[in-house]
């Protein structure tokens, strides 16, 4: 069981900065994120895009902002549970919580801070009738273990990097790989597009474009997919396959958090913005894009502010008997849990003879 003071759900910019503010108060943080790397949308969606409204940064790339935050919080040694989604929450009699992920990892925490942004990133599922009936029965939305596909017939749909990259990879593993895309053009790294063309010319990947899968069939397990070429139902044909992997990227979904008994409004969690961004459940806070209150703005800089106030409230909840006054880092410096110490250099006072 992982133990921590503040469990932060979501490792985007707001969640990461929470580690810093909590660290100043000597509170330890652990973060859960469904993505395999920290940074949230900034890393997943637009690492190379510039952001212009971070105070004191006239321009900063989203990826660099995350790198800077990781550097800033390093002294406070945050723990990470990455690639797992927070699934269940249980409140114990002493007011603490146990949060369990979809993979069964348990976290025992005094305070929960939901910094979930738009939600956890989940594969986009194409609206094909009965597709869900074949999930894990030949249909999957990500490649977890490539060996599952050894010497099998595989159909991949999609036109982005993941569709291209997995087609390339599985071309050497599967007995056949068919890549289906709605357009003749692919949106992916040039090398990947070139490599797919090579493999196609070598006969190792079968390319069907412009086309899409419109139906799936099978008896218990998937047996074939119905392919529509040129958007023309008259050209429909069946293709036998052992596996069908639609790869259409990720989109954020609020997910299981929506069932935690929190007050939800406009797909966001209602919080008390007059005080500390606490939800209707004492001990659970919601900060950043995931929350809502009158006048809410979904901006990174607002998330930073919310995280700071939330940490003060969390401190009082964890240490109800302790007195605390906020200290400026210019005065108090930063003392990391790793023993590191940053401090403003002392001005030397010397008399002039």
């Amino acid at each position: 069981m992982i133990k921590t003071d503040i469990l932060i759900i979501g490792a985007g910019p707001t969640g990461l900065f929470t580690v810093f503010e909590a660290g100043l108060l000597k509170l330890k943080c652990h973060l859960i994120d469904a993505l395999p790397q920290p940074g949230g949308q900034l890393t997943e969606l637009y690492p190379k895009k510039p952001i212009y409204d971070i105070p004191a940064f006239p321009e900063v790339l989203a990826g660099d902002l995350v790198d800077n935050l990781m550097e800033q919080i390093k002294p406070f040694e945050p723990g990470f549970t990455l690639g797992e989604r927070a699934e269940d929450i249980e409140k114990l009699d002493d007011g603490s919580f146990i949060v369990t992920t979809d993979q069964g990892t348990k976290h025992h925490t005094k305070v929960v801070a939901i910094a979930g942004g738009l939600g956890s990133f989940e594969p986009r599922k194409p609206p094909i009738p009965r597709l869900s009936d074949f999930e894990n029965k030949g249909v999957s939305y990500m490649v977890k273990n490539p060996e599952d596909y050894r010497d099998k017939d595989v159909v991949i749909a999609g036109g982005g990097d993941s569709a291209l990259d997995w087609s390339i990879f599985l071309a050497d593993v599967a007995s056949s790989v068919t890549l289906i895309h709605r357009r003749n053009e692919f949106r992916g790294a040039l090398e990947s597009v070139d490599r797919v063309k090579e493999l196609k010319d070598m006969g190792k990947i079968k390319l069907i474009t412009p086309a899409e899968v419109v139906d799936v069939n099978g008896n218990g397990h998937i047996e074939n997919v119905l392919i529509r070429k040129n958007n023309n139902p008259e050209e429909d044909f069946k293709l036998e396959t052992d596996y069908f992997i639609p790869l259409f990227g990720l989109s954020p979904k609020l997910g299981p958090i929506a069932n935690w008994g929190l007050e939800i409004e406009k797909n966001a969690i209602k919080v008390d913005n007059s005080l500390d961004y606490q939800t209707n459940i004492p001990g659970i806070y919601a900060i950043g894009d995931v929350n809502t209150y009158p006048g809410k703005l979904k901006l990174i800089l607002c998330g930073f502010h919310e995280a700071t106030l939330m940490c003060q409230s969390a401190y009082q909840r964890i240490h109800p008997d302790k007195k605390y006054v906020m200290k400026y880092t210019t005065v108090g410096g930063v003392t990391g849990f790793d023993g590191s110490r940053k401090q403003a250099p002392k001005a030397v006072v010397r008399s002039i003879d």
Binding site: Q41, L45, Y46, K49, L118, R124, K125, P126, P127, G158, G159, G160, H181, R182, R183, E185, R187, F248, G249, S251, P252, L254, K266, N267, A268, K298
Partner: protein
């Protein structure tokens, strides 16, 4: 002087709304839909207008001349669902006086 233009928007429930959109606020079509709350928050404009999701996909129902699609929009529509020949991403269409009389229908929300 900049004037407001008329746009007709059919929401995902099939209800049609006549709205006024300002041409001097650097708004795009997705933002107009959000400002009138014609689709619930969190179901439209999810990526914030970067052509990185298709939550603002709409069908163009009038023969209004629109700005040409750029690469980003074209690529996103190639990955989107419920795409038709008249599909566009609202976030990639800036509101200008040329759009007066535009009629659109919001595409269904993705599953």
């Amino acid at each position: 002087m900049n004037q407001d233009i008329n746009i007709t928007i059919t929401d995902r429930e099939g209800k049609t709304h006549q709205v006024l959109a300002p041409t001097d606020m650097a708004m795009n079509l997705m933002e107009v839909v959000r400002s009138y709350e014609l689709a619930p928050e969190g179901t439209i404009g999810i990526c914030g207008g970067m052509a990185m999701c298709a939550s603002c996909q709409c069908y163009i129902k009038s023969d209004t001349e629109l700005p040409e699609m750029e690469m980003d929009e074209e690529a996103m529509l190639a990955e989107a669902f419920y795409v038709k020949d008249n599909s566009r991403l609202g976030c990639q269409i800036p509101i200008t006086s040329d759009l007066d009389g535009l009629k659109i229908e919001l595409a269904p929300e993705e599953p």
